[in-house]
């Protein structure tokens, strides 16, 4: 029985803190960040996590100019 693939990381993006600069998209090595639909409270088109494939590398966190827009999580344990 093949084990279900578990991502090593996960990110949360605060939709209203994002300014849509897309630098996180530029630096993400596994291409799991994309533009979201619509505009946020600031009037920018924010980004979102595609929901799968994050490795928890943290590149997006340091490329993001907003202090609290991105939080990176890493897998503590699975199963």
């Amino acid at each position: 029985m093949a084990a279900e693939k578990v991502d090593r990381g996960r990110i949360e993006i605060s939709r209203d803190e994002c300014k849509g600069c897309q630098l996180c998209i530029t630096v993400c090595p596994v291409h799991v960040i994309e533009l979201d639909e619509g505009l946020n409270r600031q009037g920018y088109r924010p980004v979102r996590y595609t929901g799968a494939g994050c490795t928890g590398c943290g590149f997006c966190f340091y490329a993001c100019p907003e202090p609290g827009a991105i939080t990176v999580f890493r897998l503590a344990r699975s199963a």
């Binding site: 100019p65 907003e66 897998l75």
Partner: protein, 481 residues
């Protein structure tokens, strides 16, 4: 099967405030444009402050430029410096409070243009501070003008045909320039334009902060940083532009690293207690006289905020200084702020004085409780500013009109004529000082006599001024009845 458990790995550093109280609206975001490099560098610095647990003793010297508002973001001490002067202000902070971690954060207009002297001198003295130099090749805040770091041929609002090296010189390579000095311990340049460069810059920032934690000396980190708005490109394109255009001219390197040299940091000194400042400043206070504080004759005269105005030559600044000196000698908190404007000759000169039992928030007196008007233009100019039911002292020798307002308490003093009778019309200011003291009781007559010795340089004039004060004091007391 249990679902996988994730734990936070990277999150907003603790040394940022939770919310930024700059403006109403969304208080979780910075004022920076999308893709601005300042935010990235802020995050690295905040992370280092967290790691070394130095938030309580870090003092950020914020500059003039877009990052002027850094104090809304970093939960550390702050002094806002005049344009380019952050290294000079940082020097003062570090020397007065040796235990603090001093951090100057400056842009290229601030550091490499107007503040070039300050940064070079501070670096050359080896001041214990870290300087973060954000190089985005233009003046960002003011709309993208040419800066000392603007690249050859680069178009800006003030170099529409591209920067010409033959006219404007070549761009300044600040890290290289500073690395030529003897004192700096650590000088490096990083860039914010790719995951790899960002990781490297984080290490530079951390190391420069570590130099401070260890008390080693001066550290300088230049950071090539994007200004997508000023450059007129998207943030991803600005990353590319740093990579292709800026890096070749501003090579990334560690230019000086003396952190491996044997070094024994002196034991961190405790902050100097306030009562010992005169020792640090080498002020001999043995001849400072002190007097018990005089009590105002009416509670409304307590904690006065004074504006003193006249024309140049009437000694209004000295009058203010005298009041402040008296207040100080009576153990009160005082401030004296002279106002030098581009006034016409014979126009009004004025000063602001606070005398207070509590701490003084600002030396500026915008709503005086007392106006001392030595000539008519001063009354006309400042009458409207006086607080409700405030006190106005009029030099009636020079003022023929009455105040327009009817809520003001007015004391008439023919100061210039009285001074003339004493033999010197220039003593009118001291007559006014005496009249104020006598009328309000805010200052003791003995204090004024002693204060004159401290503020009047020409010894032979002291006797005349003491007489003038006495006449004014008697007039003020008599008017009280």
């Amino acid at each position: 099967m249990n679902s996988p458990v994730y734990e936070p790995f990277l999150q907003k550093p603790r040394s940022f405030y939770d919310t930024y109280e700059r403006k109403s609206g969304i208080k979780e975001v910075t004022h920076y444009c999308p893709g601005c490099g300042h935010g990235e560098l802020h995050k690295m610095i905040a992370e280092a402050i967290d790691e070394f647990e130095i938030a309580d003793r870090t003092v950020l010297i914020s500059p003039v430029g877009c990052s002027v508002f850094a104090y809304y973001y970093f939960d550390v001490g702050n002094v806002q410096a005049a344009h380019g002067r952050a290294p000079a202000v940082g020097t003062g902070v570090q020397r007065a409070r040796p235990h603090s971690i001093v951090m100057s954060y400056q842009g290229d207009g601030d550091l490499a243009a107007i503040g070039l002297n300050e940064i070079l001198q501070a670096a050359n003295r080896g001041e214990k501070m870290v300087v973060f130099f954000v190089n985005n090749a233009i003046y960002g805040m003011t709309g993208g003008q040419m800066a000392p770091t603007t690249l050859p041929g680069m178009t800006t609002t003030t170099s529409p045909g591209g920067r010409k090296v033959e006219d404007s010189g070549a761009p300044l390579r600040m890290a290289e320039l500073i690395s030529q000095l003897e004192a700096p311990v650590y000088v490096a340049r990083g860039a914010l334009c790719s995951a790899k460069d960002i990781s490297r810059t984080r290490r530079l920032v951390r190391k420069a902060m570590k130099v401070q934690v260890e008390g080693r000396g001066f550290a300088f980190v230049e950071v090539l940083s994007a200004c997508p708005t000023g450059w007129g490109m998207t943030p991803p394109d600005s990353y590319q532009w740093i990579h292709e255009k800026m890096k070749p001219y501003f090579p990334l390197d560690v230019f000086v690293d003396r952190t491996d040299e044997t070094f024994t940091a002196p034991a961190p000194k405790e902050p100097v207690p306030l009562e010992k400042y005169h020792e640090v400043m080498r002020i001999d206070s043995s001849d400072q006289l002190s007097f018990p504080p005089a009590q105002p004759l009416d509670p409304k005269y307590a904690n006065p905020r004074l504006k003193i105005a006249g024309f140049g030559g009437q000694g209004v600044l000295l009058l203010g200084l005298g009041l402040a000196q008296c207040g100080m000698m009576e153990g009160r908190r005082v401030s004296w702020l002279p106002s030098y404007g581009p006034e016409m000759r014979g126009g009004t000169a004025h000063c602001h004085v606070n005398i207070s039992d509590d701490e003084i928030g600002s030396p500026l007196v915008s709503q005086p409780t007392v106006l001392i008007a030595m000539n008519q233009p001063s009354l006309e100019k400042f009458e409207s500013q006086v607080a409700a039911r405030g006190l106005v002292l009029l030099n009636t020798s020079m003022i023929s009109k009455r105040p327009d307002r009817d809520d003001l308490e007015v004391l008439d003093v023919a100061a210039s004529e009285m001074a003339q009778k004493l033999g010197n019309p220039r003593a009118a200011n001291m007559i006014m000082l005496g009249a104020y003291a006598g009328y309000t009781g805010m200052i003791g007559e003995k204090t004024i006599e002693a204060a004159l010795g401290a503020i009047i340089k020409k010894r032979h004039l002291i006797e005349l001024n003491v007489k003038a004060v006495a006449e004014g004091f008697a007039l003020g007391r008599a008017a009280r009845g």
